[in-house]
Amino acid sequence: MKIKKAESTSETIIMMYRLLLLTIIVLTIMGISNMVYTHTINVKDPESFVLSKKIINCIVNSPGFQINDIKENYNSNILKYCNFKYKNETEIYNKYFIRLDLIQEDSNETILYGDDGKSWVNEILKNSPNQNNLDSYKQGYSNINTNLILNQKQTELNLEVYINE
């Protein structure tokens, strides 16, 4: 009788372990499927292009635009200079990377703003001999290179915008 009781107790304990193991397996499968089957629609490319155009419009429409003014008074934050509305500067800093080069006859000025964590990708793209093969990795990146007249001077403008998240 005693042996039977002991047997049934041990079976119950084994069953509990099995159930626990099964639960862990189910949770793991669900966790993995959660990551694998999440369909994300990426709109970072048009987003970066729209932002680039708005920044260029802002530069063109600012009378007496000076890059040093942004560096000194806006902590290189061109979005703040262009009066973009946002709640939190850290969020913006982490989401965007903006590089603006203004090349004039007598000067060459650059400002960088945002998380440049992915700028190394751009360097690879620029220096790679097979850059056509790497083109598909440029999600959320726009590069506008144009000539304009700024403060009565012929200026070459190069604007790069990355959207990180």
Binding site: E11, L22, Y37, T40, V43, L79, N83, K85
Partner: protein, 120 residues
């Protein structure tokens, strides 16, 4: 003794079968909810709206019909520069961030059939 053992074995098999069926059902239900097109449509609508706000200029009014091609919009919220759209009863958890130089004002139409996003 032999009969008892057989009974215990068949009981175990039945319990295992029930567990396997339960787990499979749970897994299939979870997957079907993940690949439910309504989530994708909600995402599409949120991102389209955010992009429209991004590229809009002052004076523009963006009209979004509640009975949309993507489903029925229960609610649109604009909070902390993010658009949240509740579509077919599915609440939006993360929303989508937009960035604009102008004031974005959300109103509902008098007939309560559409939302109007005003850029000022």
């Amino acid at each position: 003794m032999m009969k008892n053992k057989k009974a215990t074995n068949s009981q175990e098999v039945i319990i295992h079968l029930i567990l396997i069926i339960l787990i499979t059902t749970l897994f299939v239900l979870h997957l079907s909810s993940k690949i439910d097109s309504r989530y994708i449509k909600q995402q599409v609508l949120e991102k389209q709206t955010a992009l429209l706000i991004n590229s809009a200029i002052p004076g523009m009014n963006l009209t979004i019909e509640k009975a949309n091609v993507n489903g029925y919009i229960n609610e649109i919220k604009i909070e902390k520069n993010k658009v949240y759209i509740r579509l077919d009863g599915i609440p939006s958890n993360n929303g989508y961030q937009f960035i604009s130089q102008y004031n974005v004002i959300l109103t509902e139409d008098e007939t309560k059939t559409k939302y109007i996003i005003q850029i000022k």
